[in-house]
């Protein structure tokens, strides 16, 4: 028998459909309480418009797998960061031509340092592998992606930016 966790783990992200919600790290918990499946998810960004879609997709998948009583809860804390994207998720992103984020670790307490120039993070081109790439725009087609270009193969590509 398929468990609720297996069903929920297979649901894909509406904006990055190469990833499951589990790969992306927004699926926090799946539990069963008195026959009711409780799924906890967390938003990537405060204004992420996909969060409701995620909830609806989870509910639909679970219902069609036979779990009729489903509750989707939203958890804000601990806040999602790109470090929650699994290694498998990173590999899938790269395979789909989207550069995965670097691991950044926890935010330090105290004032956040100012960056007067974009941080010179090395992001390898997902097409040709060259490290010779630069940022075109910090803000891309969705809240979580930046737009970059490769100077070796001249292709533009998306990068899931570190947050």
């Amino acid at each position: 028998m398929t468990t609720a966790l297996e069903v929920a783990s297979a649901v894909r992200d509406p904006e990055l459909p190469v990833l499951t919600l589990a790969d992306l790290g927004v699926l926090r918990e799946v539990s069963e309480e008195d026959g009711r499946v409780v799924v906890t998810i967390t938003p990537t960004y405060s204004g992420c418009p996909a969060i409701d879609e995620m909830g609806a997709d989870l509910r639909r998948s679970l219902v069609s797998a036979g779990f009729t009583d489903v509750e989707v809860r939203l958890s804000l804390s601990p806040a999602w960061t790109t470090d929650w994207i699994s290694d498998e998720g990173r590999a899938k992103l790269a395979e789909a031509g989207i550069a995965p984020p670097a691991r950044i670790g926890p935010v330090a307490a105290g004032p956040v340092p100012l960056n007067l120039v974009p941080p010179s993070r090395q992001v390898a081109c997902p097409q040709c592998g060259s490290p010779n790439t630069s940022e075109i725009s910090r803000f891309g087609s969705t809240a979580c992606k930046a737009l970059r270009r490769c100077h070796a193969c001249a292709e533009p590509f998306e990068h899931v930016k570190e947050i």
């Binding site: 938003p43 409701d52 960061t81 910090r138």
Partner: protein, 294 residues
């Protein structure tokens, strides 16, 4: 649901999958929302309205640039920043609404001007309309995001679990906003004579609204331990702005203060002339067609 063909979603199917604008659930559904013991709930609601309205109104101003920014990437950037702020506003208004017995839509669309608690800096018209300029919008974003980032950084220590979670969530978003504005300020200030002139003019335009950001309100005092006293942020924010202006070769404008009305300002519900026009545009659809969705 298949995403192989985007048009499938547009053509109906199981539900209105494509309509991201429709039927959002409550912004805080499922979040642990117990009120900490001993907290003045009315003051907490007032505080959430202040921070929520700042984000909502600034978001509305940024969204006005949609399709009108100087380049496509910037159009997307400003819209993304507006979206982050809108998300913060939704969570904060929902928190306020739990005390007030209203939902986020009622608070955003059905309050009158005097009930909004945002600072004047968020509401002033910096463009793209007549009299505004992209550089003025960047100047506002620089000041606003530097201040809000400092505030959220401290708010991570709030005794209210929801405010704490909202701050932790929004912190890195605001860091991106501030860096974006700072980098544009340097690019324009240290660019051509014309870009320098316009960036300086933008700073001069917004500077009289800086002082209000650091004024302690009675709500901040009542909510000690939950709220952040904005006066405590001044030196940190000044330091950031000074570093940006130095790198950009710009002059810090003189510390003039915009006039108040009988000693009152945005936090008291007293607004500038621009606010009524902004609200008319933001609210008219909902007020004309209550419950309208798209």
């Amino acid at each position: 649901m298949s995403f192989d063909n985007a048009y499938e979603s547009l053509l109906g199917g199981e539900d209105a999958h494509w309509a991201f604008g429709t039927g959002f659930s409550e912004a805080l559904s499922g979040v642990n929302r117990e009120f900490p013991a001993g907290v003045d709930r009315d003051a907490l609601a007032a505080y959430c309205l202040m921070l929520g309205d700042d984000a909502l109104i600034c978001s509305q101003r940024l969204a006005e640039w949609c399709s009108r920014a100087p380049e496509l990437e910037e159009d997307i950037a400003l819209a993304n920043i507006a979206l982050d702020l809108l998300g913060q506003a939704r969570m904060l208004l929902t928190r306020a609404g739990e005390v007030l017995g209203k939902d986020e839509d009622e608070l955003a669309y059905l309050r009158d001007e005097r009930e909004f608690r945002n600072v004047h800096l968020a509401e002033i018209d910096c463009g793209p309309g007549p009299g505004g300029d992209f550089a003025t919008t960047i100047a506002r974003l620089l000041v606003f995001s530097s201040w809000r980032l400092a505030l959220f950084s401290r708010l991570r220590g709030s005794a209210d679990p929801v405010l704490k979670a909202i701050a932790e969530k929004g912190l890195k978003e605001l860091a991106y906003h501030r860096d974006h504005a700072a980098q544009w300020t340097v690019r324009l200030g240290d660019g051509t004579d014309e870009s320098h002139r316009r960036m300086q003019a933008g700073l001069d335009r917004v500077w009289p609204f800086v002082d209000e950001l650091f004024a302690t309100h009675s709500v901040d005092t009542v909510l000690a331990g939950v709220a952040v006293d904005p006066a405590s942020l001044r030196s940190e924010v000044d330091g950031v702005l000074e570093a940006v202006l130095d790198a950009a070769g710009l002059t810090r404008p003189a510390d003039t203060k915009a006039a108040r009305v009988a000693g009152m300002a945005g936090r008291d519900g007293v607004h500038t002339e621009a606010m009524g026009y902004l609200l008319a545009e933001m609210q008219h659809l909902h007020r004309s067609l209550p419950g309208a969705v798209w």
